[in-house]
């Protein structure tokens, strides 16, 4: 399932814009490929992120996966509930499984990301 109205990275992170705040997470496709998420490592509030650079790690039983920031900005909230219940990323990737809220330095960065249709096409190409 690809949630509409979000912006996506080719590395499967999504961003949801509300004013100059972006909530970020990973797609349903990514969680279903990774599966069995047992650990999430996220930056602290106040950390400055740069678009397309690493900001954290998720670990499944099989391997660790780097997370990349869809936009630049300051981390203003971290989903602390993932520390004790990382499985929420598998169960609810677009809602309870969000990672961070970021105050964007430049919301126009979102324009460079894929929309839902573009992301769908990207997944199909990756899978082919």
């Amino acid at each position: 399932m690809i949630s509409p109205n979000l912006r996506y990275m080719e590395s499967h992170e999504w961003a949801r814009q509300e004013g100059d705040i972006a909530t970020i997470g990973i797609s349903d496709y990514a969680q279903s490929e990774i599966q069995d998420i047992v650990y999430v490592e996220l930056p602290e509030v106040g950390t400055e992120l740069t678009q397309k650079t690493e900001f954290g790690v998720i670990e499944s039983v099989k391997a660790a996966f780097d997370l990349y920031a869809p936009v630049s900005g300051e981390v203003i909230e971290v989903n602390e509930s993932l520390l004790d219940a990382p499985e929420q990323v598998n169960e609810s990737p677009y809602d309870e499984g969000w990672f961070l809220k970021i105050r964007m330095t430049d919301p126009s960065e979102l324009d460079a990301l894929l929309d839902a249709d573009g992301y769908q096409a990207h997944i199909e190409a990756e899978h082919a």
Partner: protein
């Protein structure tokens, strides 16, 4: 990449595949955790046809296998299986394997998939006894049935005998659903189970016979992902991860599979010398004390001192924490002692625990 005779069968089950030692193998069908827990509570069906088999036969077979093995093959009767190591002249481990004794002039060696060519070359190099050595890997498929319900699942397909009567580490030549099979009471999971060796041409028939029965009781097909977490919980070493040509059996905690007395074998002299000099490394089990995951290659610290590194590590689906094996300087630590694992530049707390992590 090489494929087992069951490749299409796995594909039809929507398996995800991974590359393992040159083989395209199913890594998971549903999820690693689901498959792992199915083996612990019910049963799992594994395609292990990538494993290698070498047949050693004829006059000199016994002498050759004995000479190659650190463990005493001379103790075997017909129908017995022995876990052993092959070591090189300097005591490094060439491979770890199972030796099946059909008769004293007919053995089957079951070796790691990644080592088939190396082991064949090694066995041939060492063969001065006149034994006939044959790589039968391509012609041999291996399907494992593991888990508490393995006996009840297998019995209906073996009308000629009660498979519960086959003791641990023994095998019989029999028929499973009419297919000529080496029925071996062995496994790599820490559970009751069987490893079934059949001609490659019969692999699909055996799989499609057992599969519906396994599914009907809530079991699962199991890929290499759960195979790895199962063996880890059971404290079973994996060649290429926990040991290699440069590690000796003492360093990886496998010295109980060396028999020095009244026998000669390749590497004996070097291993006796190592033992005398004192072992500088040991393998320990550890458990993470936070939620972080320790993986192979990560550094182990005690205080400020780096004392070793992780050789295998993963989240344990049964214990719900991460576990692993570490190779550390000997005798740096003992049980329950605290250590730290460096994960992406940060130290995470762990403690030394006894292996196996799961006891049955």
């Amino acid at each position: 990449m090489k494929r087992t005779p069951l490749y299409e069968t796995h594909k039809n089950l929507n398996a995800k595949f991974t590359e393992f030692g040159g083989w395209e193998m199913p890594v998971q069908y549903s999820s690693i955790v689901t498959e792992h827990l199915a083996v612990r509570s019910i049963a799992g069906l594994f395609d292990l046809s990538h494993m290698g088999e070498i047949e050693v036969s004829g006059q000199g077979a016994n002498e050759l296998v004995q000479k190659l093995s650190t463990n005493d093959v001379g103790r075997l009767n017909d129908g017995r299986v022995l876990y052993t190591l092959f070591c090189n002249e300097t005591g490094g481990i060439v491979d770890d394997l199972l030796v099946y004794r059909h008769t004293d002039n007919h053995y089957m060696l079951v070796i790691n998939a990644t080592n088939i060519e190396k082991d064949m070359a090694w066995v041939e190099t060492c063969n001065d006894t006149g034994a006939e050595v044959k790589n039968i890997s391509e012609d041999t498929a291996l399907i494992a049935l593991q888990g508490p319900q393995a006996i009840d699942l297998l019995n209906p397909f073996v009308p000629e005998r009660d498979v519960s009567k086959i003791p641990y580490f023994r095998f019989v030549l029999g028929e499973v659903a009419g297919i000529r099979t080496v029925i071996s009471r062995t496994g790599y999971t820490g559970e009751v189970g069987f490893e079934l060796y059949v001609p490659a041409v019969s692999a699909e028939r055996l799989w499609t016979t057992l599969y519906p029965a396994v599914i009907a009781v809530g079991g699962q097909p199991v890929g290499l992902g759960a195979r790895d977490t199962l063996r880890l919980e059971a404290g079973l070493r994996l060649y290429g991860m926990d040991m290699n040509d440069d590690t000796n059996p003492f360093e990886v905690g496998l010295s109980r599979f060396i028999r020095f007395k009244n026998r000669q074998f390749i590497g004996k002299k070097a291993l006796l010398a190592e033992k005398k000099e004192g072992i500088t490394k040991q393998m320990v089990g550890f458990q993470m004390l936070d939620r972080a995951v320790a993986r192979a290659g990560y550094a182990i610290y005690q205080g400020d001192e780096r004392i070793g590194s992780v050789t295998s590590g993963a989240p344990s689906p049964s214990l719900k924490c991460s576990i692993g094996f570490a190779s550390i300087e000997s005798p740096a630590v003992s049980e329950n002692e605290k250590i730290d694992v460096e994960i992406r530049g940060k130290l995470h707390p762990a403690k030394i625990v006894e292996m196996p992590f799961i006891k049955n």
